[in-house]
Symmetry: C2
Subunit: 214 residues, 2 copies
């Protein structure tokens, strides 16, 4: 089985924004409401942050259930990891996810401001400054034959798409319109020269977009 590079459960607004502008400590998604964008995922039985039993086991649950399946490493942009810009003033910040991050694999954070690796539960964060192909090589090695997730944000996914390094994408388009923010695309049609696309409307209101290479 080939080792895939994939985007999974990435949510954008109906107009293609992965987050709003003005990210801050209180607003990891900037001027976008993550509650409305991620409601479809939070309602499923397999949502990693679910604390009570129950949850839906229909279409949307296949996507949250597949999140960890055969994934051996993640690459994320600096802004997915942290609201801070510029050199680290201290090393107190360890991500948004508390003591039990939902990744359970090595995670490579793309940054111009490197810092030592650290481990929380079974997730180890590495900080890397290099071109995308080199970082991907590191992540593939760390994944030990399993797939590599490109975790976002939108700018990071765009960079990997421009470098033609992505094999499959699952993007959930939410019915919320943002107007402006961090753009993944103007329209999903931008990818149709290189990818097949299944468009799958869900009863929850999001429309799953599934791309794989031609």
């Amino acid at each position: 089985m080939a080792q895939l590079v994939k985007v999974q459960n990435f949510v954008v607004s109906s107009d293609g924004f992965g987050a709003g502008e003005d990210q801050s400590l209180d607003r990891p998604f900037g001027r976008a409401d993550p509650g409305s964008m991620f409601a479809w995922a939070g309602a499923t039985a397999s949502w990693p942050n679910r604390t009570d039993p129950g949850g839906s086991r229909g279409l949307d649950d296949y996507f949250t259930r597949d999140f960890a399946h055969n994934v051996g490493a993640e690459i994320m942009g600096a802004h997915k990891f942290s609201p801070y810009r510029g050199p680290w003033e201290n090393l107190d910040w360890q991500g948004w996810w508390g003591d039990e991050p939902p990744f359970h694999t090595p995670v490579f954070v793309l940054t111009h401001h490197e810092r030592p690796s650290f481990t929380l539960s079974d997730t180890t964060f590495h900080f890397v400054n290099g071109d995308l192909a080199d970082v991907l090589r590191l992540a593939k090695q760390a994944a030990q034959g399993r797939d590599v997730r490109i975790g976002g944000g939108a700018t990071t996914i765009r960079s990997f798409l421009e470098a033609d390094l992505i094999d499959t994408l699952h993007v959930a388009v939410s019915p919320v319109e943002l107007g402006h923010g961090v753009s993944l695309w103007k329209t999903p049609d931008e990818l149709l020269d290189r990818f097949h696309l299944d468009v799958v409307p869900s009863p929850s209101g999001v429309t799953h977009h599934l791309f794989w290479r031609k």
Copy 2:
């Protein structure tokens, strides 16, 4: 996480038949053409019997990819295992699947004609004669906390539904009409008193039906 009892990737005709009549050694699905009923699954990258690389990675692939996910045992009816009826004349028959069956777990075959267990690769077949709840108890124990798949055929699934022992079902309704055969349902609506239902048309032509308990 609760241990689920689930039906996965079970294919029926548009009129609800899981197989045609007159099963025989040459026709495991009787007077139904498995080629047309399973074409959607065979086209996916994750189809277990795929020998060449490639295959689609859209909606249908989520279902074939999920087949083995967290499944620890299968229960199947005697007619899924074998075309023979009545007592075993000999023990030469070891299923339709060759030396490498696609189950990779213990499999419990419901039969009035018991025979010794045997193992092919990492699948062990057990032959059990008892009421469904007892067999399910055995299978759950063998699954060691993972889920139990009810593998079919249609008659076996109906029996487990009548005993109210199933938590989730994924049934792919193919556009092929059979007219008669082994029936799963007259209409999926029969299950709506007990189950939620997502109906998801696939670009491949099948319509995925996803049921989970209310």
